[in-house]
């Protein structure tokens, strides 16, 4: 069930699965009530969004959905360790990371409905935290060297910014991962590589993905540090990432942070995980649920009670619903001429010619002619 038994022993952890915790370590973090609650709300928010997305997909409103249940601590903790001016390029299912950075839910959902994203702010210097990202990627792993290039470029231009890039246990098998880490090591690029080891790449378990003891062990091969953390502990993922971000900012040195966790949902709405794993495989991971764990901790610190929890969940559900409705409304406004939008910044004439060709056909034969 746990891919890396020895690795789990080596994991950095602040909160135990039952919510008990290392008091001194928690104090040392210096996290205020606001911040802790914000993290909690992001985690709950991600879970609510996930539920909404999955439901709408089942109802045929979304073509596709990817779940994040159980991964919220691995997604939110690292995002919380960034400053407003840092950058975040994620994997597909890191909803909590975007929420923690303040990204509107509707914007997250629109990607799944239109396949592209939009920005409000043109000038990078004015961009709020949640806009400091590249558009979503689909080719697994390709984001890794791109993030290195991005931060290298920001750095060359004198900006004191750090980038965080998420990549899965599967994605870490791509050549892009290798190239990205190697470049970052050579050129001292301030990037934190967050390996989200959720132990599955679709149906492929992590022991079929690599024979390494841990992904953190890969860092030495690129000349920097690797840290293995309990990915279901939001304070552990936060602390390791913060350390890495600080180092990156001070010295330019990258770090690999491996968050060891477990994908409890199927890979996506197209996947049937009953084909390749037992229902019972999930149990130990339900017991290590990051939201439950964080609640127990917050309760102990006087920051959580059932009422507050209920209110947060309700608000999150409400917001997810509203965002989904709005996203579906916006997506409906797409029209055929968009097909040629923004392919080029300086479009050659054939773009306009073909657009006209399409619109003429559309005008003559109507929408139905195109739906099959």
């Amino acid at each position: 069930m746990v891919r890396f038994p020895s690795a789990v022993d080596r994991c950095e952890q602040l909160l135990a699965p039952d919510g008990s915790y290392d008091e001194a370590a928690v104090e040392a973090l210096g996290l205020g009530r606001e911040t802790l609650r914000r993290m909690y709300e992001s985690m709950v928010g991600a879970r609510a969004l996930d539920e909404r997305g999955a439901t709408l997909q089942r109802q045929g409103e979304f073509h596709f959905w990817m779940g994040c249940r159980g991964l919220e601590a691995a997604h939110v903790g690292p995002a919380a360790a960034l400053t407003e001016r840092d950058w975040l390029n994620t994997e597909w299912r890191q909803y909590g990371a975007h929420i923690q950075r303040g990204r509107p839910l509707v914007d997250i959902l629109l990607f799944w409905l239109r396949g592209y994203e939009t920005w409000e702010t043109e000038d990078v210097d004015d961009m709020p935290a949640h806009e400091r990202r590249l558009p979503h990627i689909v080719a697994v792993g390709t984001q890794v060297p791109q993030t290195v290039g991005l931060m290298w470029g920001r750095n060359l231009q004198g900006y004191d910014e750090v980038g965080l890039v998420g990549v899965g246990d599967g994605g870490a098998s791509k050549g892009d991962f290798h190239a990205g880490l190697n470049f970052a090591g050579v050129f001292d690029v301030p990037v934190v590589f967050l390996v989200l080891n959720n132990q599955w790449a679709i149906s492929t378990p992590v022991e079929r993905q690599t024979a390494a003891e841990t992904y953190a062990d890969r860092a030495a091969g690129y000349g920097f540090e690797g840290i293995l953390v309990d990915g279901n502990d939001p304070l552990a993922t936060y602390r390791a990432t913060r350390r890495a971000v600080e180092r990156a900012r001070e010295t330019g040195e990258p770090t690999l942070v491996e968050a060891l966790t477990y994908r409890r949902s199927a890979h996506s709405s197209s996947d049937d995980d009953a084909r390749y794993r037992e229902e019972t495989d999930l149990e130990p991971w339900r017991d290590r649920d990051p939201v439950d764990r964080f609640e127990a901790f917050l309760a102990d610190r006087g920051l959580w009670d059932p009422e507050y929890g209920e209110a947060v969940r309700e608000r999150a559900g409400e917001r997810a619903r509203e965002a989904a409705d709005r996203a579906l409304e916006i997506a409906e406004q797409q029209s055929p001429e968009e097909v040629f939008d923004e392919v080029f910044a300086n479009p050659p004439a054939y773009i306009e010619e073909q657009r006209e060709e399409l619109l003429a056909l559309y005008g003559e034969h109507g929408e139905e002619a195109f739906r099959w």
Binding site: A139, A201, S203, R208, Q334, V339, F340, Y362, F370, W372
Partner: protein, 336 residues
């Protein structure tokens, strides 16, 4: 038995969907030849994201049906080595848009191993990948980049459009001693059933199929575009008599059949999902005018994907050729 996962219990065992015919083709050839092995992402227990390898893992075990790490470079590199070792690997790339990370291995080695070893090491492998759009999938899941394999020397390129052909062409591809790129039109994976013979059989590579005979205009196409092309031809019946050729093998192309049809009709339309510029319609047109210019009575029409970044979800309907676009182009060519 591999392949038959349908809930349509009325279907006979051999009345298969295209994707089932692929699975059955793999199964029957693996049963026939134990040097055939299958490798790729999620091809094992899960049976492939489209179920095109369903049942193989249970039938042949994990030494012959191999889930790999997530690296198309690794899959291709390993498949080349496996082929050199004397096995007959069938590598699956989950979607054609993910073949790109495998291209260096494929171009620099798979396509040249036989030539550079002067025949010592054939590179008898098949790359299977679902291709083409129309299933409302995310970016890179709708690619139609067949041209990049047709244009690069050293490959054969095959695209079935019916279940029966899918099985027969796949088995022929596995048996062919050269690297074959076998592209499966995912839009019609489950579109219709067809009687598919039991056991292993070959549908020869390099032969186009005449899907409909006609005297006025030749419509050439392949893969999922065969259906709208046939529909367009049916719409025009009585008015314009359209001959529909399904190329089936894109490389080598069946120039004889193509040219013979054009000599009869003098007019042609080529239909493909891939972007227009540099697409294979150009190659067809070049061939027609090289070999049969004197028969040509009108410009050859192209009905293709646009030269744009593939638009997603709802918008892909405006990207792909459809019955109306094909029909109108045929009308235009006929009226020239």
């Amino acid at each position: 038995m591999a392949g038959n996962t349908s809930s349509d219990t009325d279907a006979t065992a051999e009345d298969l969907l295209l994707v089932e015919a692929v699975a059955e083709g793999l199964h029957d050839e693996m049963a026939h030849d134990d040097s055939v092995i299958v490798l790729g992402e999620d091809v094992g227990q899960s049976g492939g994201v489209f179920r095109a390898t369903e049942g193989l893992y249970e039938a042949f075990g994990d030494e012959r049906v191999i889930d790999t790490p997530l690296s198309e470079t690794g899959i291709a590199g390993a498949a080349i080595g496996l082929a050199a070792s004397g096995l007959r690997p069938v590598m699956e790339i989950q979607f054609m848009g993910f073949t790109y990370a495998a291209l260096e291995q494929l171009y620099t080695r798979a396509a040249r191993l036989h030539a550079r070893s002067r025949g010592q090491y054939p590179c008898q492998l098949v790359l299977r990948a679902p291709f083409g759009g129309g299933v409302r999938a995310p970016d890179l899941h709708g690619e139609s980049m067949e041209t990049i394999f047709v244009h690069h020397p050293g490959f054969k390129v095959v695209v079935p459009s019916t279940p029966r052909d899918a099985k027969g062409l796949l088995i022929a591809s596995i048996r062919d001693p050269d690297p074959v790129v076998f592209l499966e039109p995912k839009k019609i994976y489950r579109a219709f059933r067809e009687e598919v013979p039991e056991g292993a059989y070959e549908t020869p590579l390099g032969e186009a199929a005449i899907r409909r005979e006609g005297r006025d205009v030749t419509a050439l196409t392949w893969g999922a575009m065969t259906r709208p092309t046939l529909e367009a031809a049916a719409d025009l019946a009585g008015d314009i008599d359209v001959e529909v050729l399904d190329l089936r093998t894109l490389s080598p192309m069946d120039r004889e059949t193509v040219v013979a049809s054009f000599e009869k009709t003098g007019r042609a339309v080529v239909v493909h999902e891939a972007p227009r510029t540099g697409g294979l319609a150009g190659e067809v047109i070049a061939t027609l005018q090289e070999e049969a210019l004197l028969y040509q009575e009108a410009p050859v029409g192209r009905v293709t994907g646009w030269d744009t970044v593939y638009p997603l979800y709802e918008l892909e309907d405006f990207q792909l050729p459809n019955t109306t676009r094909v029909r109108e182009k045929i009308r235009e060519v006929a009226a020239f």
